[in-house]
């Protein structure tokens, strides 16, 4: 769309509430969001967080401002800027991504009156001088997810389908193949939990199955994701699961080119990357949007509480499996019910999913 001319207006860039431009003064809450460095447009993590902000803005009269840091060293400064700002005064500063944990541990105690939310990390203060954190900050609400649980489910799905002859949309599996793939972004403990969950899910379907893994070193390198996945498909993988942000776009492409399947992450990627819906079997959704939404909701209601960690697992609907828009219907009820059973066992605690791939 063209730019504005004179005073006339067009659609909004800042995420204003749906009630229109005049709402500024009357907003029920002002929210600042500091995104992770991959930036918006990744079709997964950051976009999912933004989804929560937008939903909240729609449901409550919320004004929000966002920043997209270019490098981790910017986090601290930007968090501080939000905390300091008085025009408007931000009721909540949402920090998205585990890398913001350490900066927030410095900023949060400086602004005890400011409420913060952080996703994927639990910043702590060191009270006994051993240089290890042991107490959370009163003004920080932490939200973490049991990624391994969701990943277990998609792993199980992948394992079940791989041992069958399954063909739908743009792909097919070979029943005699014993091979699956996992593509990670930058190596870190967090992504390792995805890998661990996936691998153990696969193994739960059949012990004969192998998982090839590769890390591209980046959450924003689709070309590398594509090559890694191609490599896997060519060495027999039927299905590749990725936990690599925008790098995963390349995984989907590889699946499409090779006529195999992929599994998305964070959001229902058969929707956000709809051009690949014909190869996306399912997605491991991680409800970052719920985390953000509920923090904003609590802020609007005046019930936001810091000093606590909200752990979102399968039982809390914080993670889960969503079948692809196009392919979901093609997956047999039998397979789905096996996945459901596994979910139930995790929820009732009879299955404990590892978080470290070396322990699988």
């Amino acid at each position: 769309s063209g730019g504005p001319s004179g005073e006339n207006t067009s659609d909004s860039d800042t995420e204003t509430s749906s009630s229109g431009g005049g709402a500024e003064a009357s907003a029920s809450a002002n929210v600042g969001v500091v995104y992770a460095t991959g930036g918006l447009g990744d079709g997964s993590f950051n976009d999912q967080a933004q989804q929560g902000v937008q939903q909240a803005a729609e449901d409550f009269d919320v004004e929000s401002r966002k920043v997209q840091p270019q490098q981790p060293s910017d986090f601290e400064n930007l968090q501080r800027q939000f905390a300091q700002e008085t025009d408007p005064n931000y009721d909540l500063v949402s920090c998205v991504g585990f890398l913001q944990g350490d900066p927030l541990a410095k900023v949060a105690p400086e602004y005890p009156e400011q409420s913060f939310q952080i996703v994927d990390a639990v910043p702590m203060r060191d009270t006994d001088g051993d240089d290890e954190g042991d107490e959370q900050f009163d003004n920080v609400g932490s939200y973490v997810f049991a990624e391994e649980e969701g990943s277990f489910l998609v792993g199980r799905l992948a394992g079940l389908l791989s041992t069958r002859s399954f063909s739908a949309g743009g792909g097919s599996t070979a029943s005699d193949s014993t091979n699956l793939g996992f593509v990670g972004g930058r190596e870190s403990d967090l992504i390792a939990t995805f890998e661990a969950g996936f691998v153990s899910g696969v193994k739960s379907a059949s012990d004969d199955l192998d998982v090839q893994t590769a890390y591209t070193g980046s959450f924003n390198d689709p070309a590398a994701g594509k090559e890694a996945a191609l490599q896997m498909y060519n060495s027999g993988a039927d299905i590749v699961y990725h936990a690599s942000g925008n790098t995963g776009t390349g995984v989907f492409q590889a699946a499409q080119e090779e006529g195999r399947f992929a599994i998305g992450v964070d959001r229902d990627q058969s929707v956000t990357k709809s051009s690949y819906a014909d190869v996306i079997l399912a997605s491991m959704v991680k409800r970052v949007d719920t985390a953000v939404y509920s923090a904003i909701e609590a802020t609007v209601n005046g019930s936001f509480e810091g000093g606590a960690t909200t752990s979102l697992g399968l039982a809390d609907d914080g993670v889960g499996i969503t079948y692809g828009q196009e392919l979901g219907a093609e997956i047999s009820a039998e397979v789905k019910s096996e996945v459901d059973t596994a979910a139930q066992s995790i929820i009732d605690g009879s299955v404990d999913v590892p978080t470290d791939p070396t322990n699988v």
């Binding site: 730019g3 504005p4 004179g6 005073e7 860039d13 401002r65 954190g133």
Partner: protein, 430 residues
């Protein structure tokens, strides 16, 4: 020789056409970049969409003159530069401004690191070699600092700890960066490998290998981030005047300034500096004058790397308090700083301040306006582009004549110092 003579001579040198020209060109480059940046902001402001125009370009309408045009833009260039420059200083014109404000601390701490990377690049340039690898040297230096301090920390504590760990950390950074810098130096001196390429490649290698080491060998088990354990608080640069939480220490800045003086002295008043400048300006003449070309290349690369490594040490000791992957591009900014400064150590001080303002202002712009902060990256490139073509400004100034050009061709005027020395470097690279 009397003091008066000396002072007079110093003054004469200061007002020498070349030095003023140098300054004029730097300022003109800055100004032109801002101008082009403004255009860019306006164009971008037409390409995006917004609810209300942030900036309206129109004309005054006195005496009922009809309004002929009014063009609205989503981005306000004036606000951008206001935030970029004034915001970085913490709004000096607002009430209750204190020079000790937090944003000023950010500006000064960025300046401090940039002094080191700027000096690093400048030393190499003066020796006629391109060190694009300051970034990698900074990474290696910072990592070496973190490891050394972590290893030594248990042995000391308290004030004694501060007194020993900081110098130790700085030394480790300098040594680490110096060794890493010596690699492309040796490759150039003994294998004729183009240092522009090797240093760029070594940047990738440094990031990769250090990243691997941090992740697999030295990772802080309590953190999700890829980083080492935190250094003890007594290894932190003591804050003076400024808030201790601001991650800025005047002592570090003073250290940077003293290094400016030291590098200046080294270049202007020592035999090594003479060797270095000679081989930078005219390698054949240097060889003739008994300068060991290979050794000078390695030595200047090592020195350059050590300065970059010190930058990394400061980043770790003063700013982060540990080593974390994802180090900001101080090394690349150092190139800009040095080129803008004409590779003059004193100029590096001022250019570092300018870029400190730009870097600190970037986050303010990011926060306060909708203009993408990558604008500052574009400005950085534009500044280099304009500095690279003094001829452009000479043309504008209408002072182009043959004598000057001939002089320049022979590698002369200080105004094109950077360019000409670079030229030499370039010629000998391949």
């Amino acid at each position: 020789m009397s003091w008066r003579d000396r002072v007079e001579r110093l003054l004469a040198r200061l007002v020498a056409a070349s030095a003023t020209e140098r300054l004029a060109i730097s300022l003109a480059a800055l100004f032109s970049s801002i101008l082009v940046g403004t255009l860019l902001v306006l164009v971008a402001g037409r390409m995006t969409a917004c609810s209300s125009a942030a900036f309206v370009l129109t004309h005054p309408t006195p005496f009922g003159v009809p309004r002929l045009f009014a063009v609205g833009f989503c981005y306000d260039p004036i606000a951008v530069y206001d935030r970029l420059f004034l915001g970085a200083l913490g709004d000096p014109f607002s009430a209750g401004w204190s020079p000790r404000n937090a944003q000023m601390a950010v500006t000064l701490r960025e300046t401090t690191v940039l002094i080191f990377t700027g000096l690093s690049v400048a030393v190499a340039f003066r020796a006629g070699v391109f060190n694009i690898g300051t970034q990698g040297q900074l990474v290696v230096g910072g990592f070496a600092t973190a490891l050394t301090v972590l290893a030594a920390a248990p042995a000391v504590s308290g004030f004694v700890g501060t007194l020993t760990l900081i110098p130790l950390g700085l030394l480790a950074g300098a040594v680490g960066g110096g060794f890493y810098g010596a690699i492309p130096g040796a490759l150039k001196a003994y294998a004729d490998a183009n240092e522009v390429i090797t240093t760029i490649m070594l940047n990738f290698v440094a990031t990769g290998v250090v990243g691997y080491l941090v992740l697999n060998q030295f990772k802080d088990p309590t953190s999700a981030a890829t980083q080492t354990r935190a250094l003890p608080s007594y290894a932190d640069f003591p804050a003076v005047v400024f808030d201790p939480r601001s991650n800025f220490s005047l002592i570090a800045l003073a250290f940077g300034i003293s290094l400016i003086v030291a590098v200046y002295y080294l270049l202007a008043h020592t035999s090594f500096g003479y060797d270095l400048r000679t081989s930078g300006l005219q390698p054949e003449a240097a060889e003739y004058g008994g300068v060991d070309a290979a050794r000078t290349v390695v030595a200047s690369f090592a020195l350059s790397g050590a300065l970059g490594g010190l930058g990394g040490a400061l980043y770790v000791l003063m700013i982060l308090g540990n080593y974390q992957t994802g180090v900001p591009a101080y090394g690349f900014d150092g190139i800009t700083v040095s080129i803008l400064a004409g590779n003059n150590p004193v100029g590096v001080g001022f250019a570092a301040l300018l870029f400190g303002v730009l870097k600190s202002g970037t986050t303010v712009v990011d926060f306060a306006t909708d203009v993408p902060p990558q604008l500052v990256g574009v400005l950085r490139g534009l500044i280099i582009l304009f500095v690279a073509m003094p001829e452009f400004f000479r043309l504008l100034g209408g002072r182009m004549d043959r004598v000057q050009r001939r002089a320049r061709r022979l590698g002369s005027t200080a105004a094109t110092d950077g360019g000409e020395q670079a030229d030499d470097g370039g010629d000998r690279n391949e």
